[in-house]
Symmetry: C2
Subunit: 410 residues, 2 copies
Amino acid sequence: MALIVQKYGGTSVGSVERIEHVAQKVIQYRNQGHEVVVVVSAMSGETNRLIALAKQAQSEPDPRELDVLIATGEQVTIALLCMAIKQRGQDARSYTGAQVRILTDSAFNKARIVKIDEEHMRADLAAGRIVVVAGFQGMDEHRNITTLGRGGSDTTAVALAAALKADECQIYTDVDGVYTTDPRVVPEARRLERITFEEMLEMASLGSKVLQIRSVEFAGKYNVPLRVLSSFQEGNGTLITYEVEGMEEPLISGIAFNQDEAKLTIQGVPDQPGVAYRILGPIGESNIEVDMIIQNVAADGLTTDFTFTVHRNDYDKALRLLQQVAETLGAKSVSGDTKIAKISLVGVGMRSHAGIASTMFKTLADEGINIRMISTSEIKISVVVDEKYQELAVRALHSAFELEKDPNNK
Amino acid sequence: MALIVQKYGGTSVGSVERIEHVAQKVIQYRNQGHEVVVVVSAMSGETNRLIALAKQAQSEPDPRELDVLIATGEQVTIALLCMAIKQRGQDARSYTGAQVRILTDSAFNKARIVKIDEEHMRADLAAGRIVVVAGFQGMDEHRNITTLGRGGSDTTAVALAAALKADECQIYTDVDGVYTTDPRVVPEARRLERITFEEMLEMASLGSKVLQIRSVEFAGKYNVPLRVLSSFQEGNGTLITYEVEGMEEPLISGIAFNQDEAKLTIQGVPDQPGVAYRILGPIGESNIEVDMIIQNVAADGLTTDFTFTVHRNDYDKALRLLQQVAETLGAKSVSGDTKIAKISLVGVGMRSHAGIASTMFKTLADEGINIRMISTSEIKISVVVDEKYQELAVRALHSAFELEKDPNNK
């Protein structure tokens, strides 16, 4: 008998029929003798409907009142799911975030969980009940309703699993696991049986939108085994855990890619201490997040070229700021490019293997793809290429590293 | 400067446009220097939508979960109203029933208020904020969400007014006050400037559906001046208060009527002690409410006829029970009639005036209307007539007692 926390997203509870399907799945687990805590999102479309109402009422909706409003979305789902479970003869009890209670800070719309009282849930589990909790929400110390921000239901599930010391936290989505890369780009992409937290963080932040980054961080921090599964198909999904000693790690777990970023370069900057700060300081102060940063000494040995990437939405703003900086610093020129793609190989296995980078660069060269930027960490290598080469690069790399093959049967 | 509690029902907050209109009205009062607490219902249609979802999920929705579900209706409205108020430059803060907190017993779907914490609201009012509270809901001592049952938002408003010792509790509806009778039947019906709690209770329970009975009882008990107004038109509405010493009371305040009841008669019952109990006991045990009761000694002096009215929905059930009782008692026969109307004259003024009843009976006789049952209390006289005579009777009585004329200008 295990204690399992399950989370079902908006699509999985998008109608009463789907909620009934979730009720059946939950009861299956319960009937196998497990203790089950279920976290649910708002029915798909509901949060957007409420936000639209809010914007009609106030041009910039008040953050506190917005949380009061959208917290109703999950409250509807928990009640309906409990009813559907009871209709099928099992006992269940619903909890809003405030009722649990999930104590958060007071940062409306993006609150962070501070503490969770598990005693009520434990009592219900001990009495044989299925516990159903509203995801995405909590309350602060002044009894204000708060929300964790979009996608925060994953975080609720992981936090509950940590508080309850659950054996597994299962995240049900509309995909059946984490793949070596996006199957829409590489049809041979393979579902991973398992992946480490670190790899998952790199995959997630690089564009594989299966799980919310914060929930993975949280799960890693509290060592909660996390499993991604499909609510619509049977299967084991992908288990996200810490590396197990002696486990044979595949060299590369997956390839992430995105076209969310734009690249900016400032050329001919006098090469002197503090120059990076003087360039990136104004960018950071404007709340623009910088991803990759590369600095090269120029041919003359006196000036340097400095390149970085930002989100495409911030490109225009960042370019204006950089032009001001260039004037102040007496730099030669400023240039930029929004038509780029970033492609990353991710794998804890590459830590102990040389030659990954050179295989990657050779593969891209063989396809005639020019690399614009390179950055590396212990478990990933990222390159920036022209946007138009993205699919070609991903397919070539997937094949070169034989990711379609199960590493245990290679 | 006064402290005013205002309540807006579902139609008054049926869309964001209407909520904006409410925001304007509330701000008007605030700008006149009043402290304002606003109680709102769910947007019209919302509660029914949620109940339909519940019935899809569970054939007989679990009472606890049903309250979790439908309490979201008012929660949406409070948030939107606060936003609309803030959009117009005034400060406001919303409270769910649980947040206030409005402590109730644990009778889900029909909870009763036990206690109200006013300290948070007082602090907000002192800070110049408009306080917006979700009607119809509360929480029990175990943090369960409860609802007061349909129409309970009126009760919330009155209870808050009592707790805050408000100067007036204003109930905004889609009618502009309490009328001498239904204007759809008598176009000359006149809006009453004021009416007493007792009269209002008689009017409400007899079919003038302006206010929830419970809220009037509550207001009377705590002596909260209650005013019914229209959210769509300007005007003073009708003030409901205790009789003021020396106030010139009109003879009759109004005429209530309904066709909700059915009449049952058991004939030829042996006239012996305890017979009323033996007849009505089984009815009461089946949770059927009895309204009018009349017992006559029959011509033979040995047996009695016994007539009473029940709600039409309970008629078939009551008839079956009565037939069993008749057999046990050896009564002669059982008969019934569903095609009846009950018409009541209501007025505290009739306490000190003789002749009201005879004027009433004469008026009906002049119109050829046969009276089937009569019952009287200190401030009302009710008659049962054939359903088809209802409108004629109401019009004739309205005219006979000159209710279309303002008693102060007669």
